[in-house]
Symmetry: C2
Subunit: 318 residues, 2 copies
């Protein structure tokens, strides 16, 4: 009945495979072994925490990713939430359900997780390994920040800014779902996303008033920003920065981007951002001047208002 | 492709069922809605964090528990790790994989989670809901404590103390696995465990030097305490406090107890503990005087050294 928690070291097959992972991670997981991780937050900073799950068959298929890419991608997806708050990542706890058929790939998944944690400058602080019939990774990420960049706070007449180029992950998934091979660029965007940690820090330091990471798709996430800030947003689809091979409509709806969408002054120096972060920063719209009414997102294409269908939902209405 | 994270409020079936849970939880989950939870730690205290997963078919079977009991139990199992560190729980984040067949029970599971969080005086701070083929709950719990009670620190000649009475959960599971109905007392111990938060605080305040919660079984967890503290432990099986219907051997090996095992001075006032916490506190052994050698756990029965078989392992050697 019992299950292993917090990666204690000990006896048996379960302990053995965890010991192998700990050996692989080395100093990246050096503090593990008690019932809980103990964390200190720098004076004047606040702790931020997020949880993100990747389930085989729901968030990815085994044929799409190598085990390293799967571990890396799931971890970056979680770290991206810390970036969305402009926080500095410090710790990652890993809850993994490992079916027998995946056991051979366990250490390769751990390598991918380790790479993402190392890249973010964080530590592995704990975990929980279970048996099960489907591979599932739940990453709990913690970090700290003096002033979190939240979803609310967008001000009338702020501009809407997007980092990077959109549409790659959904382009790759559409190719896979048609039984085709995605372009290398699209595949790379799906299997090797980046958590925009430094970019978020730069934007927060340069006046961003609200922001989030684009996980549900630009339009859906703009909706979250509008709702949280009780503002009306206008997104100009003509301006949406795309990877090669996707339409702006597709790019505006594709999820799992892990780029940032922020409200910030229109006078933001995009070139300075690009020089500092090595990424494009594009103005894709604006917060409307205050008008009484519901939070909304208006999408324009060639100057005309258009309606895009909804994004993906795990539990569609039946 | 995208999945819902951090319980944002919005549109669609997935958002609808999350909204229903948030409504049910009310003020218990009032701070939810951004990419991350933001937490403050009282001055002079340290943050502690743990992650715990319960998977259908591995940690429980659907026929054993009501949905409320399942949510309650999974949450208490996670909170028990905070108790093990003598920490005060503050926040719980819920990652749930919800198969279609369980959807009808979603709100009842949420009720059980809510009850456990409320009882612990904590808040629901976020989550992630996914589709999947097996029900899985990963609870991330955070709390704070001035001086964590860790697994290491047991001193030669400390006594070993156990809270409560052991053997109930494994007695219930054995009955279910034989197709029988467990005794009400044994069933209650399985479906309604308690996180020993106040008891741990009392023990830490009264000189406990090391401790953990009994999740893998008394003997296995004594092994963790021995290994972490580099000490040799003696457990006197004759003294193990049991529920009715189990032998001391069974009680010493049964997992998922969520009682506490601590090293503390032999002069500890067990009656004062019982008066304060409403629980028995039993001396079951001692830390041996320092002797060079490997960390070990020696088990005595009727004054004679005995060997008990290993506890449960999710990944037995093949």
């Amino acid at each position: 009945m019992t299950h292993l928690r917090h990666l204690p070291l000990g006896y048996g097959g379960e302990f053995d495979i965890i010991s192998a992972a700990l050996e692989r991670w080395g100093s990246l997981a050096s503090g593990i072994g008690d019932d809980c991780a103990v964390l200190d937050v720098p004076a004047g900073e606040r702790l931020v925490l997020s949880v993100d799950t990747a389930v085989e068959g729901v968030h990815f298929r085994r044929s799409w990713l190598s085990p390293e890419e799967l571990g890396y991608r799931a971890t970056v997806a979680a770290l991206s939430d810390l970036a969305a708050m402009a926080a500095t990542p410090t710790g990652v706890a890993i809850a993994m359900t490992l079916p027998e058929a995946w056991r051979v790939d366990f250490l390769r998944i751990c390598d991918g997780i380790g790479e993402a944690v190392r890249t973010a400058g964080a530590q592995i602080i704990g975990g929980d390994l279970s048996r099960g019939v489907e591979l599932s990774l739940t990453l709990t990420v913690v970090g700290h920040v003096r002033t979190p960049l939240s979803r609310h706070g967008a001000r009338p007449c702020d501009a809407l800014w997007v980092t990077g180029r959109l549409g790659g992950p959904s382009l790759a998934v559409r190719a896979w779902e048609r039984g085709e091979v995605p372009t290398p660029a699209a595949r790379e965007r799906f299997v090797r996303p980046a958590a925009r940690i430094a970019a978020a820090r730069w934007l927060a330091d340069h006046g961003a008033t609200a922001g989030l990471d684009i996980s549900d798709g630009l339009i859906s996430d703009a909706g979250h920003l509008a709702a949280a800030g009780s503002v009306q947003l206008v997104v100009n689809l003509d301006k949406v920065p795309t990877v090669a091979g996707v339409t702006v409509e597709e790019a505006a709806q594709g999820g799992e981007e892990y780029e940032l969408l922020v409200a910030a002054p229109a006078a933001l120096d995009a070139r300075a951002f690009e020089a500092a972060c090595g990424l494009p920063l594009t103005c894709v719209g604006a917060v409307a001047p205050t008008i009484p009414g519901e939070p909304t997102v208006e999408t324009l294409r060639h100057g005309v208002r258009v309606t895009l269908p909804r994004g993906h939902d795990h539990f569609p209405d039946r």
